[in-house]
Symmetry: C2
Amino acid sequence: MRATPRYRRGVDEELERTAACLEALGHPTRLAIYRLLVRAGSDGRPVGKIQEALAAPASTLSHHLKHLEMVGLIVRRREGTTHRCVASFPTMDQVLGFLTRECCAEDAAPGGPPADHPRRAAD
Amino acid sequence: MRATPRYRRGVDEELERTAACLEALGHPTRLAIYRLLVRAGSDGRPVGKIQEALAAPASTLSHHLKHLEMVGLIVRRREGTTHRCVASFPTMDQVLGFLTRECCAEDAAPGGPPADHPRRAAD
DNA sequence: TCTATATTTCGATAATACTAGAAATAACGT
DNA sequence: ACGTTATTTCTAGTATTATCGAAATATAGA
C-alpha cells in the first residue's frame, strides 16, 4: 500500500503477502476482530454483532473489516440486510506456515538453533 | 504508539503486545530483517551485514531495527564499533502462542472448527 | 589526538493510516 | 413506493510512519 522504495524491488512475493497479513493483524482492533471470528467458527458473525462486541463506531469497524478482507484473512457473505463475516483459515495457515518455516527456531535449544541448522546461512 | 480510542480501553494486555509485534513484522523490510536474523541463529548479524544483505540506507535500516528492538523481537549487543543484532526467540514464541491458541482452528476440518469447539462462543 | 569505521540521531518531507460523523446504499417487510 | 434496519462510502481532520541525506556519536587503532 505504500510506495516500494528503490532498495526493495521485486523481492520475495510470499514475504510481501505475509507482511501484508501481519500488518493487518497488527492492530489491536483488527486482531480482536479476527480472534472473535475464529472463535465464532464457520458461522462467523454479522457485522452488527462484531460492532456490539467491540463497541467500535460502525464506520471505523467497516474500515477495519475491509482491511482484513483485502488481505484475505476474512470473507463475507451477504444475508439479507446483514453481512456475515467469516475467518478464512487457509490464509492464516499460510501466514503461520511462513513464520514457522522461515522465522522460527523450530527445535530451538536455549540460545537459538544449532550451528548445523539447515536454515542457517553461512557466515 | 497511537492514541487508544475511547471504545478500546483497558483491553487484553497480551492482545496489545501481540498486535505490536505483528505490526513490527508487518513491514516487508522488517520481516526480511527478522528472517535474516533467525537464519543467522544465535550469532546474529552486525548491522552492517544486514544492510549489505538488504541494500537499505543505513538510517532507514536503523529506524526499522529500533522498531523491532522496541517490541522485543530482537536484541543487540555492542562489539567494538559494530552492533550485533540477534533474534529473540521467546518473543516470537509468545506471538505464535497467541496466534495458535486464540486465532487458529487447530484441528480444523475444511470449513472451520466443529460446532462443539471449546473456543467457540455461544451465539 | 587524529583518522577511519560503524551506526545512530536529527530533521525534513511525503505518504499512509486511524477515527468517526454524516450521507449514501442495499435489502427487507408492509 | 415507503419506512426500517444494516452496513458502507464519503469526507475530513489528526496522528503516525516511512524514507533518507546530513550531522552527530562511539569505538578502535596509529
